[in-house]
Symmetry: C2
Subunit: 239 residues, 2 copies
């Protein structure tokens, strides 16, 4: 199964529709996005296969999705830790951070990131999503380089961070060889999935038919009460 | 398994803690509460056993949980309809209503309620929760009487509506003989569960240990990625 992709511009417009006329708040959308990411982690690595999940969060909404995912992962029995090198100013992100601190989820320093990257069982890349326009600014070139050469599985939220949303991996420099093990597309795949090889999930079980029609998208056939659906398995389909 | 109960006063204080110092918004809490209700519906009546779910919503937060549940039920493949006889003024409830309208979920009129009660496969009672202090005011005495004598299974959210949160069913009048088939307690059971017989779920997978310690509660052992946990089955444990 493959699903039609949505451009970065349309993805921004879809978010606007959801919040301006659809009745949604960012709190609600981010809650369901983060929950879908946490459920995807469970599907690819249940806690008996690994519990230390390092969530790297960027300064925008993709990072917020990562913060919500870290909270659910903690409730699911994982031991998440968060690296949040450039905190977003939005009051929602600050509240999400408080929620994590109340669960004693550690926020690690830049100095500890390289060792955390080695000792974790999985990394969640919640650095940049569909609104990334490049180029990478400090401290992210170094972070992307380290993630790119990490040996643990990486799950990217919405898009592999550093990739152009339309044209995929950068031609050189940090991210040029970045290929996450797992991708969770939110609402719809972005065009850059054409360059992606790996397990691919879709999340965001809240779109209406009117919206998928408006943007020419598919309404995924989610199963049971799942908030994510696996839509493509490449290779052996294993981590 | 049984879980320690929380008084109405402590339940209000817990909500206040979550929102004033815990970093939570009502949007987030209601999203997870409503999702847990929808998951409980799935556990007791998967869509292949019945799809027409009538959600009756009260004017407060219990009704808001019901509105969120109706949305998730629609995405899960049910055909929910909503009876919302006294709409809450909170802008969140109005936004939740818009979300449901965008999914073409019908809001039924008072005139249609008796026939909807007959033709549905299940009723979700999201009329009153832990803040109910009685007495029932119009139009709820009549609604409770009709639900009380309905032949379809009833799932109550947080507490059987009309019951006193501490002392259980009223001594006479509407609700005196009301015994839902399923109860979904949110965060912790209320004292009135002592009078309840039926299937009992707990929802609200977001409490921290600090909060359960503060209020002398148990942290339920949720399974997998479930947002609800069945904690007691009476009788045959079937609808």
């Amino acid at each position: 199964m493959s699903l039609r992709a949505i451009s970065a511009k349309d993805a921004a417009s879809l978010d606007k529709d959801l919040m301006e006329t659809g009745g949604w708040s960012l709190d609600q959308l981010m809650e369901l996005a983060g929950l879908s990411v946490a459920q995807a982690v469970w599907k690819v690595m249940p806690p008996n296969a690994g519990q230390d999940v390092l969530v790297v969060c960027g300064p925008g909404n993709n990072g917020g999705d990562g913060l919500v995912a870290a909270r659910h992962l903690s409730h699911f029995g994982y031991r998440p830790s968060v690296y949040y090198p450039k905190e977003g100013k939005n009051e929602l992100y600050q509240r999400l951070k408080i929620q994590l601190q109340n669960l004693s989820i550690p926020f690690i320093s830049a100095e500890k990131f390289p060792s955390a990257l080695k000792s974790s069982d999985m990394l969640v890349d919640a650095i940049f999503g569909f609104s990334f326009g490049g180029p990478l600014r400090e401290p992210f070139p170094s972070i992307i380089s380290q993630i790119e050469s990490a040996t643990i599985p990486v799950l990217s939220v919405d898009a592999p961070s550093s990739w152009d949303i339309e044209s995929g991996p950068p031609k050189g420099g940090p991210g040029a060889k970045f290929m996450p093990t797992v991708l969770v597309s939110l609402s719809a795949p972005k065009p850059c999935v054409a360059f992606y090889q790996g397990r691919h999930f879709i999340g965001g079980r809240f779109l209406t038919k009117a919206l998928t029609d408006k943007y020419g998208l598919d309404l995924p056939q989610y199963q049971g009460v799942d908030q994510v659906l696996e839509i493509r398995v490449d290779g052996e389909g294993k981590l």
